[in-house]
Subunit: 491 residues, 2 copies
């Protein structure tokens, strides 16, 4: 049948856009830069949310909700933060509309101007720390371990579905601690939570590391990141965890009586992951036939398609399918039976391939006679005919195998596309021919980092936590370096 997607090889960016549209994940809206997350895309987000939320709660966090609006003056309180965030944002200036005196719809009522403008939160450190001031008096009130699931707005000039949208959904953790060590341990714990989620659920290998000063969150002392490699050789930052030191406590005057009875500023972290993860999921695994979803995050893991010529046959098949459905559900497997008579099996096969359903079962009259069923796996596109008898065990094992295979494939891809380079010329050449992650020595200065970015568009993705100590020379300046960092082009 006709391919509905532009191929990755022909135009990766168009392939991505086609896939987001054709797999019914999202579409653009009437509002510039804002997307509509369609039910199938949102179902993936719900799976992600449920798992992350569970992991946050297992590490002692609770959810709360803070206002969407932030008074403009709050942004000026933390100097680095305002530079990073307050500039490109949605500003509420009025609180009322009135009928247009000319009779054409409604206009902003000039009498309803706010005394102080309100900013739609681009991130919530400021409003949250202004609240924490009321919650914290003594070390007994610490730690505070809050997370919030929310929408945020950053006025982006160039937007792309999931990867960069004006409004997006995310979670933001904001914690308050007695000591610097405790806050650092939290920062570390949460980047590990993100890494486990990415690897064990998204089947996406990531590199954990620290951002260079240049790439840190606005207001952070340290930013930890997980970086994944997409199939076009570009990096995608998939979650960050920030050690904020006492910056926000000082900006909002949040002090506590410590165990010695002395007043001290509170130590902070924040950490977040967003609907951007859906973009990462798409680009890490999918192919020219459509989405490839890891079973642990697929809205349904199995689809069953009946093959029949008349309604009597469908009725017979459905009896058998109902048995299979019950057995699969009993194992906690999510399964959809598509018995719609308005579409033919071939159309359904293509549809579920496009939507990345990990396992497809097809069953017809001959299968009923033979006690057989056709099993197709989405990751390899392999098909086989199996006995219907133990199909539930087989599917359960197959889902595990698919989850593992998708991860292994992405891991292998990353290994093949991670290159050690020692000369800047080689780096520049390979960056645009081969792409991927580049392990290179860097002299640790912002100047060199900026020069590389200006000349090649590549950035330091992170200084990996597990980078071995190794004497080397910066590939640009020749100055000494103690370990390799990761450079890449990035989303």
């Amino acid at each position: 049948m006709a391919k509905v997607l532009t191929s990755k090889e022909e135009n990766y960016s168009q392939w991505y856009n086609d896939l987001v549209a054709k797999a019914d994940l999202a579409e653009s809206s009437a509002v510039r830069g804002c997307m509509v997350i369609k039910p199938y895309g949102y179902a993936i987000w719900e799976k992600m949310q449920a798992q992350l939320d569970k992991m946050f709660k297992e590490t002692g966090h609770v959810n709360a909700y803070f206002p969407l609006f932030i008074p403009k003056s709050f942004f000026s309180k933390e100097a680095a933060h305002v530079e990073g965030f307050a500039k490109e944002c949605a500003v509420v200036t009025h609180y009322r509309l009135k009928n247009d005196p000319d009779g054409k719809g409604v206009v902003v009522d000039p009498d309803a101007k706010l005394e102080e403008e309100l900013i739609i939160r681009p991130t919530s450190e400021t409003i949250i720390w202004s609240t924490y001031k009321n919650w914290i008096q003594s070390y007994r009130d610490l730690p505070i371990l809050c997370n919030q699931w929310a929408n945020v707005v950053r006025w982006e000039m160039r937007t792309r579905m999931f990867l960069r949208t004006t409004e997006f959904l995310w979670q933001e953790g904001h914690t308050a601690h007695e000591t610097s060590q405790e806050a650092l341990a939290e920062t570390d714990q949460m980047i590990n939570v993100y890494a486990s989620f990415a690897e064990d659920f998204m089947a996406m290998p990531v590199i954990k590391g620290a951002k260079s000063a240049n790439e840190r969150f606005a207001g952070a002392i340290e930013t930890y990141t997980i970086e994944a490699l997409m199939q076009d050789g570009k990096a995608l930052q998939s979650g960050t965890s920030h050690f904020l030191g006492q910056n926000f406590a000082k900006a909002f005057d949040v002090q506590f009586a410590n165990r010695d009875g002395k007043l001290e500023y509170v130590w902070a972290t924040s950490w977040g992951a967003s609907t951007r993860l859906i973009g990462a999921l798409i680009m890490a695994h999918s192919d020219n036939n459509g989405l490839v979803l890891p079973p642990k995050l697929a809205p349904y893991q199995v689809v069953i398609v009946p093959i029949y010529k008349n309604m009597d046959q469908l009725a017979e098949i459905s009896v058998k399918v109902n048995e299979i459905l019950a057995k699969l559900k009993a194992r906690g497997i999510s399964v959809k039976y598509d018995n719609r008579d308005t579409q033919r099996p071939g159309w359904k096969f293509a549809e579920y391939e496009l939507k990345g359903v990990p396992v497809r079962l097809a069953i017809g009259p001959r299968d009923l006679e033979n006690g057989s069923i056709e099993v197709a796996r989405r990751d390899t596109l392999e098909k086989s005919v199996e006995k219907i008898e133990n199909i539930d065990q087989l599917v359960e094992d197959l889902l595990d195998a698919i989850q593992k295979n998708i991860y292994d494939k992405a891991f292998k891809f990353r290994a093949e596309n991670t290159t050690k380079v020692d000369s800047y010329d080689e780096f520049k050449e390979l960056l645009n021919t081969k792409g991927g992650f580049f392990l290179a020595h860097w002299d640790g200065t912002a100047e060199t980092e900026i020069k590389i970015k200006e000349e090649t568009k590549a950035t330091i993705r992170c200084i990996p936590f597990d980078a071995p100590e190794e004497e080397g020379k910066c590939m640009v300046t020749g100055k000494p370096s103690k370990r390799r960092v990761i450079f890449a082009l990035a989303y």
Copy 2:
């Protein structure tokens, strides 16, 4: 010990505010009319969300996400809707700040004015129907059964925690149908879902009915509602479901080819419930000692408090408590063991009473000797000493009994505070002395309804679905009436 709450009898409104604050449910924020939902309050919302979401999915709905922003012009497209909603709302006019030339923080950049202002959604019919236009061509595309969990903003002049806040959290279902009958059936189904949720989970009896024309949602043909009675005799609208006819389809030109191949406008419903439900939950059941939570929505259903004199005793008690914890958890009961050494048992008892934890277990050294444990239930404040052996079964049964008792109590209260009245004078007198629901005849005109509202502040809460036909005369005009409607003062 000293009471931390103003008593209900002394000042109901202050009692409510005290309770919201002292039970750590919510607090006001730096932004006028916006609240911070604190972890304990948010945990109740999460329980509500999880249950409602389950019920929505069981009735075939899926979740999606639509933009926070709505272009101003969208509101002018549905005439009634703009009158009801577009006036008091937050308006985004600019998309950038810049450094104040005077060096004092940041100011709005006048060069970054939007061509068309954006409204923060007060409800999403307009942005959603502008989207549905792309999704619907044929009857095969119907029904569309989407729900969205989101924040919305209505610029309220007088706000109250949970009951009326500028920003609030809610869900809004938006469905599209082939026929009027199907849309009406959906409207009906969803008010029943809300009623089941209110009665079976919130333990709050409700009356289902239709709103009078005057009280309908702006843009609806019919609005169905569930109305609950609070302990101060005022009504609280707890969920609404709207039959929108073809109003929004016409406003956004959403037509479909019907089964006869003819173009027709799509039929619509919308339905919503919000964090207001937390206000209802508080006011339906709580007492002068604090919250009373129905076990099905309590963040934790059981708390265990150890009574000890030294750490050795605590260690011994904890061994036994760990056994109890395991047994309770195995039954799906959520339980907290408060072994903090920083607070005394008496303080903990008061704290969990304030927070409405349904069952409190206390265990000390003598209990260990005797194989006993003290069981206290929050709803009746009764205490008893029980055998430790079958405590898990006992607690499970007790939670069911508490859930039922809370409902029965609220049901009895409502029965005692529902009055049939036939004269307007009697109505006016009892409205302010007794309060509650009033069953009265009404002539069905907006004039009479408005007159009553202006003179007494009472409104028609609904025309109950189960109101028996009964010939009568309007208590105000004496004109004929076929059934009694419910009047009350309302939140």
